[in-house]
Symmetry: C2
Subunit: 341 residues, 2 copies
DNA sequence: TTGTAGGCGTTATCAC
DNA sequence: GTGATAACGCCTACAA
């Protein structure tokens, strides 16, 4: 175990003062060229690395941001992390990932840890308990950004970046209307997730805007948002007398299940039934009939959140707080909704 | 911006010395109960949080570990991160994620950063350039663990945790032999990834062990490891006069492509063709015929890597270096390889 | 252009 | 049981 080589070692070896070594890094312009070169070569030779800990202890801003998500297994959460990591890297920041614990006690501990590390800021996906979280963050004076926070809810105290799911629902249904469909089904999951609810609202809007009654929206609920549940819905649909000609599913997995069941029953997609999923999971494009899907820009949410965090210090507190960015989802149109030409 | 509340503020407010406050946290047993309670209440009231930076500056071990992977988009890499995060959390450690930059310069910078943060250790997936990486890490004195490092290569200087892909290949083919298949196809990708090569070797071993010639292994190569490539292979196979009755694919996507193509041509899976994929991606279990897949325990690799890192200090350098854990993959058997009863 | 000194928040070692 | 004090490594005024 060799003892850590510090700035003093470099100074001694290069025969300059520690102040000069520091200047070589922090204000290279004010130090003589030959001195700088000499110092740099010693740095290289000794393998000196600065101590970030000492820097922030001294009062400089930390270069770590934390990303707190629900569950890394969830592809959307992962996209948030990816986007944040990429943006952070470009900004010279490191990212710490935390999965949000279920119980409040764990969450508090996790939070305390983040504060102990003196992270520059926290990017977090909200939950029911996010109020207590916000209070804690504000108390600790740590800036934070809410990710995928539904914009219609009461104004959050921190700033946030959300996805406009109402627009998403509108987009999907508008697309189906454009293709000539008049009876459309909306397949949702069991829990009333705000995001799904908003897509439903958007779907209704699209219908009324086009002069149709919302009755034309056949709504079906599933016990789970899985392929198996989708299969069940598919089977249910087969026996409908007034079967919709198009479906907007809350989830790609649901859509894929429906797809499998319909095809096995001999129906053609999209001719007998057009399908639009949501999330644009990796496999959607490769399904037996490539699936049209509403793509929610998770990576962009993560990246934007980082930018918001970085912009914070340049704004007054009032401006930072409550600042919201709303991102628009886009529709990846594939064969499952495209009538044969 | 209120100034950070430090240990001195707590001490003053609680009317004790800073040493006592420190003791309350670090050796609660040696401080009088009433004093401790008083201090704790002040801590609570003032919202005091310890400074991790000051701690490690003082010489205590850092509580951050870094996970360096290739690409967070890759599900296997993600599994590594998940496993590491979970294990780290349980061990009271925080994890920092870095995606490995393509060019050497970026990689060097990334590395330098990690050293600056004085991370407790680094978990990394190896590449061609991993030698220079190891040299750099050793120079900086940062312990590291290689993840998914193929164990048959020359002994690494750090310790590592790998997956026994030879065993994996053996497992898959053994399973097919058990089901009565005698001509088996091996579908591999374009690049000669060590992991895939080892699975091929394992497949051959299984055949010879069972007393068959390796000729029975029909080997096909794809230009990519995607569903589309799998479809192509499926089409190619249709015209084979001596078509294998079972396929082991390097990848679930390949297997799913083959599956789609064969079914569209009217063949039955598994009756006319049994299929085994690899990676056990989320969708494998939900395919139109649920796919048997070789599951590589990525999460376990990540978790084990953390444990190896934690065990390091208790071992002498000699023991730590070169220590290797090899994990065994398992076969998730589903209908695609299970003959109807 | 370079050197010097003070302090950031902790912990550990010693007196009391 | 408790209090004072010296590090840890760095940055930054300010003095030379």
């Amino acid at each position: 175990m060799k003892p850590r080589v510090g700035i003093v070692d470099v100074a001694r070896e290069a025969d300059v003062s520690i102040g000069t070594v520091s200047n070589v890094f922090n204000r290279p312009d004010i130090v003589a060229v030959h001195t700088r070169l000499r110092v740099l070569s010693v740095v290289e030779r000794l393998g000196y690395v600065r101590s970030e800990n000492a820097r922030v202890l001294r009062g400089l801003p930390s270069r770590i941001i934390a990303v707190v998500v629900h569950d890394l297994t969830n592809p959307f959460d992962m996209a948030l992390v990816q986007g944040a990591e990429e943006a952070a890297r470009k900004a010279g920041l490191a990212v710490m990932v935390c999965t949000r614990a279920q119980n409040a006690a764990d969450e508090a501990r996790c939070l305390a840890r983040l504060a102990e590390y003196e992270v520059r800021g926290v990017l977090i996906t909200p939950t029911g308990s996010s109020d207590s979280f916000k209070a804690a963050m504000e108390r600790a004076g740590v800036p934070f950004v809410l990710m995928d926070h539904d914009g219609r809810q009461r104004r959050p105290s921190g700033c946030s970046v959300a996805i406009d799911d109402v627009a998403g629902g509108r987009l999907a249904v508008q697309h189906l209307l454009d293709r000539g469909h008049r009876t459309i089904g909306f397949i949702s999951g069991p829990q009333h997730l705000p995001q799904v609810e908003q897509r439903r609202a958007g779907a209704r809007e699209a219908l009324t805007q086009a002069g149709h009654s919302t009755i034309a929206l056949t709504e079906l609920t599933c016990p789970a948002m899985t392929v198996a549940a989708g299969r069940n819905v598919g089977r249910r649909l087969l026996s409908f007398q007034n079967r919709p000609t198009a479906l907007f599913c809350a989830n790609d997995l649901l859509a894929l299940g429906v797809l499998q069941e319909l095809r096995e029953a001999g129906l053609r997609v999209p001719d007998d039934m057009a399908l639009v999923g949501c999330d644009d999971i990796e496999y959607a494009a490769s399904a037996s009939v490539p699936l049209t899907s509403l793509r929610r820009p998770g990576r962009l949410v993560g990246a934007t959140a980082v930018q918001l965090l970085e912009a914070a210090p340049t704004l007054s507190d009032g401006e930072h707080d409550g600042r919201q960015v709303i991102l628009t989802p886009e529709l990846a149109v594939r064969r499952s909704s495209r009538r044969e030409t």
